[in-house]
Symmetry: C2
Subunit: 731 residues, 2 copies
Amino acid sequence: MRIRTFIFLLFFMVAWDVHAALQHPCLLLTAEGVETIKAHRGKLALFDQTIDRIVRDADKAIEMGIVVPEPLDNGGGYSHEKHKDNYYALYYAGIAYQITGEGKYARFVRDMLVQYAEMIPGLGPHPCNSPDKAGRLFFQPLNDCVWSCFASMAYDYVYDWLSEEEHALFEKDVFRPMAEFISNGNAYNRQVFDKMHNHGTWANVAVGMIGHVIGDETFVEQSLYGLHKDGTGGYMKQLDVLFSPDGYYMEGAYYQRYALWPFVVYAQILEHNHPEMHVSEYRDGIFKKATRALINMSYNTELFRINDAVYQTLASLDAVNAVDASYLFDSSQKDLLSVALAQNNFIVSDGGLRTALAIAHNETEPFLFKSCFLRDGADGTQGGLGVMRSGEGERHTALLFKATAHGQSHGHYDKLSVLLNDNGHEILQDYGSVRYLNLEPREGGRYTKENSSWALQTIAHNTVTVDGKSHFDGNFELSSRHASHVNYYDFDHPECQVMSASENHAVPGVSMTRTIAMIKTDDAYPLILDIYKIKSEEKHQYDLPYYYVGTLSSTNFGMTRYPTQLSVLGQDNGYQHLWLEGKSAPLHKLAEMTWFNENRFYSLNTLADPEMELLFVRMGANDPNMNIRTDPGYIIRCPRADNYTFVSTLDIHGEYDLVAELTAEFETKVQDIELLLDNDQYTAVRISKVDGQKLLFVTLNGAYGTDSEHRITVDGKNYSWTGNYHLFINQ
Amino acid sequence: MRIRTFIFLLFFMVAWDVHAALQHPCLLLTAEGVETIKAHRGKLALFDQTIDRIVRDADKAIEMGIVVPEPLDNGGGYSHEKHKDNYYALYYAGIAYQITGEGKYARFVRDMLVQYAEMIPGLGPHPCNSPDKAGRLFFQPLNDCVWSCFASMAYDYVYDWLSEEEHALFEKDVFRPMAEFISNGNAYNRQVFDKMHNHGTWANVAVGMIGHVIGDETFVEQSLYGLHKDGTGGYMKQLDVLFSPDGYYMEGAYYQRYALWPFVVYAQILEHNHPEMHVSEYRDGIFKKATRALINMSYNTELFRINDAVYQTLASLDAVNAVDASYLFDSSQKDLLSVALAQNNFIVSDGGLRTALAIAHNETEPFLFKSCFLRDGADGTQGGLGVMRSGEGERHTALLFKATAHGQSHGHYDKLSVLLNDNGHEILQDYGSVRYLNLEPREGGRYTKENSSWALQTIAHNTVTVDGKSHFDGNFELSSRHASHVNYYDFDHPECQVMSASENHAVPGVSMTRTIAMIKTDDAYPLILDIYKIKSEEKHQYDLPYYYVGTLSSTNFGMTRYPTQLSVLGQDNGYQHLWLEGKSAPLHKLAEMTWFNENRFYSLNTLADPEMELLFVRMGANDPNMNIRTDPGYIIRCPRADNYTFVSTLDIHGEYDLVAELTAEFETKVQDIELLLDNDQYTAVRISKVDGQKLLFVTLNGAYGTDSEHRITVDGKNYSWTGNYHLFINQ
């Protein structure tokens, strides 16, 4: 505590001096910070690696020469990638100048900015977008913001080397036009600037960084409090609104990582220039919470692919930035050091140095991935995300249960969906987004139209679609008004972790409650119980898909396949993108489907029903540009029911080793599932395992509370417990 | 040389002693060998690990208790896997007894053999196979052979601990019946015993090991020289026939690994008991050549998946066995030590110890994966396999060009097929086999019927199918009579490695010559030129598929896809297993198709033709049990031509990094391809690269020879060279 106070005092003084003297650098680095970094040169192997890489990249950029192309191309195209390369080159050269003091780096930054100064004032809307939404250097203004952030830092780093005339030139023809375009360039940009959204954050921070580096108080105030400086927009409001009290960012893990960059960078800049704001401690340490939430939404370094997301990991520079800053803001988080160590990269900043120093001093502690619940919504009342984990290490089991708000423009219609990871792999997948990021031939690297027609739709997720229509009938406004409700969760008992959530708005007249239990028996891996209880006064069709990842091993029902012709499953709501490969009826009381992924087996056992249909589907129909992955899915269909409860177990088992040529325990460990009780108060399910063990799981369906006492009689036996759920073993 | 002589002398003396005294152990281990191993206990960390693991496994087996179940199940089923577990348990307990001298291990072997002695004499044909081909303990006799090999060793290891009565019992009711069944049990086994095939090898060696351990000279002689001891069958003839002079095993890499086990184990046993035979030096060191050939047929430890093959690596116990023995037989092969080090496992044998010792003495040298050519056929005249490599390390480029004989019962109709690996991954795949090894629910782990109807067929391979019919019309006898002809190969110049082969028998009236060049320009990765020249007097349809692995990035032709219905591509010859997903005509002079795999791009540019059709297909039609992987393919179809030459380049380029969010050089580096000359004498192709470089490649189409001088005039320019091919750069 005393150490933290001291740190803040130190920053306060440093920043005050800087501010008072209008010294440069004044953004992510300060003169004192640079001196400290230089004092450690050659003494911190890991941090030296980062600096060496940056200096090498700066040298390479100088060697390649400066090219500032006319902005013509989409994401992934030549001019797009070149302007991206350029902002990194500017930034690296700026750092290289600060560290080495060699004029060639400053000269490179100057010369490139001169070329931008010649180009920027004459730029109109980028040709690859509609003029009212187009950026200048890039097809969208978002990338202009990112460019401005990096270019501001580069300018800041070489500021003292430049002449007064150059200062005037760059301010007039580079930074002021960019800040004005971003904040106030047209109706679209004005709207984005005050919007509570990651594009808004980037816009605020770009303008704020420019404001700080050129000393324009208006830009700084607008960045903090919105275009009208009245607090209806701006960075501080974004901080209030976009993160939940647990640090969950509304749009999900992928965008959380992306959005954190401007948030934590600007926080460090504000700490340097306005230490009296104590931004780093804002909202009870929101940066720290958000960074930890991000890490908690990863599996084996990969970020959970919910909402619009493509593959991304904790090694991303954005995550490096978040970790270094979060450690700077609270250096009691020694477990962050193991994440930083795995990233093997640092930001050249006070935070990066401090993180590297602590690692060098052997302060690293492991980051323990535990189950956690992250509330959604600014006030934490918009549902939430449960991450249930079992086991340790990179092959542990992690189940994500999503019962959040819609997630802004990047949200999907995926109420009560689940994802499963195990053995280092995705086992039940969320498609993520149909997008080839930065791949120019694929619609300029932007979201493809199949992102809306497939990835957003309910049927693309491991949750129930009613009557073939997506939740909220795919209406964004409506979906944005209603979050799911989390009934309860309890992750305190590793032998039985449970979460229950309800969704009563997504489908008119239909209420859905899903309860997931992750049960650890004596078996090697956990057993998952999935109770999906639906209530309605009308009859509906209920489809519950499981997008399994792996290769089918066996089913206990005959597979009816379509040998020579395939047709689509439906006409709309995403169904038009699924080929129907097989359709079967259950033959036994349980419908069993087992697949393997790498060397492990996964068995889904579902309590069958005479009407039930088991569909094997494959993605990729109605996809003229081959944008959709051709992954398989298994849909359990209840064709017509009012009230209906899907009860399934998923057990993980066995070993399939092709190298050692050994196979063990390829059969499910679940012998029977009985739905013993299912009413408005309680659902009770008994699982009989092959080894003779009997698990009776009971959950409340209403009147939730951890203290209330309950008593039921099933199969002539009395069972009593306290709280929302109970697991009775062999009783 | 002197060292090797000394080693052989040493073995000679040791073995002679053993033999003279009828001492045990006398198979893979000798009393002296065991003493040496014991003398090194605790001093060799890696070898200790192996022994510790074996002792631990023996302890585990003892703890689990002995179960010898009635043989009822298929591969992967309970009794099958249990009898497999049992032979390993016997073997491990035997070794544990030798190393520790503890009676509990010998007792375990004895007790289990007693149970087998009670069961074996009463066994009839296994119920999971037709009675005339069934095994006893397993569904097929092959597994009985493997069981016998391991059980013989276990018996050998505890022989001295057992009583005379026990010797008599096990000889009478376990080993003699097994040896008699395997060699002479029925017509099928008699035929297999003398067949030149891996099943024959296993049978010979099983009977030979039993012969040695129970001291039956007849069994030993039969094992060496066939059922009639006349040299028409047996181990020595298998050695002559099944390997080419370069150590290539007729059935391909996957079975080479499997077959090597009995070959090298028996060689060591013969060295111990009949040192005068000098088996380890037989055929100029055939064991050593075969081991090196196996390693050379791997990429990033994985074995090339040609013919009937599933995933398998150099870490397989069979490969460990081959490496340890090969190093024992010629300890000048210091590069084998790096393979052994990566295997991180040893056989408890003289070879294993010697390998571990050499590693401990820092004698390890890297195994340099270089391009190589392996002749096929006992005399090396049955075509061959070219492996062309470029670059180093686990991400280097490796292209395999298959122009071999059929490959016995595990061969495919895949004349002149190619496979490509790069960046640590398969890039152009051979399907391998449709088989779920040891997965009981999948047809007992045996080859599925789709292995014949799909995987064997020509259309499943990256080579030309004529008129929709497989090579040799799928006739095994016919195909077994004709190997492809290798015209020439030259891997001595890394800037241009070339191989050319012809196939004149696979399709009546059609001759096919494929020439592959792997060219290394200034670009980061190699450029592959593929010239597939077909001659015929009649008109035919020619289909050339490329089974690319990865995700499509772009084409330069409009894709016509089937949005709501898919149909099969054909009726038979494997075509019935392909869905036709898209069909297009080329729009430009080159048909360009680019895909990415992980972070790298691959562009296939094909010289187009107005008649050409470009088909996008996906495997998995007519597959009632979902046995076939649903992988994509790209087929270039020439619908009607007599003489036709497919000319394509495949260039590897760029970087697609989703974590760093960077994309570079996603476009092909090939701008133009011109077929400047194509007659019976020469084919000349000019490749124009985007960077302006011009590559003129010329190959002979007959009258091959490395010394002959040639002169052509193309585009008004004269070119002259010596030899089979030439690459002119910017000339």
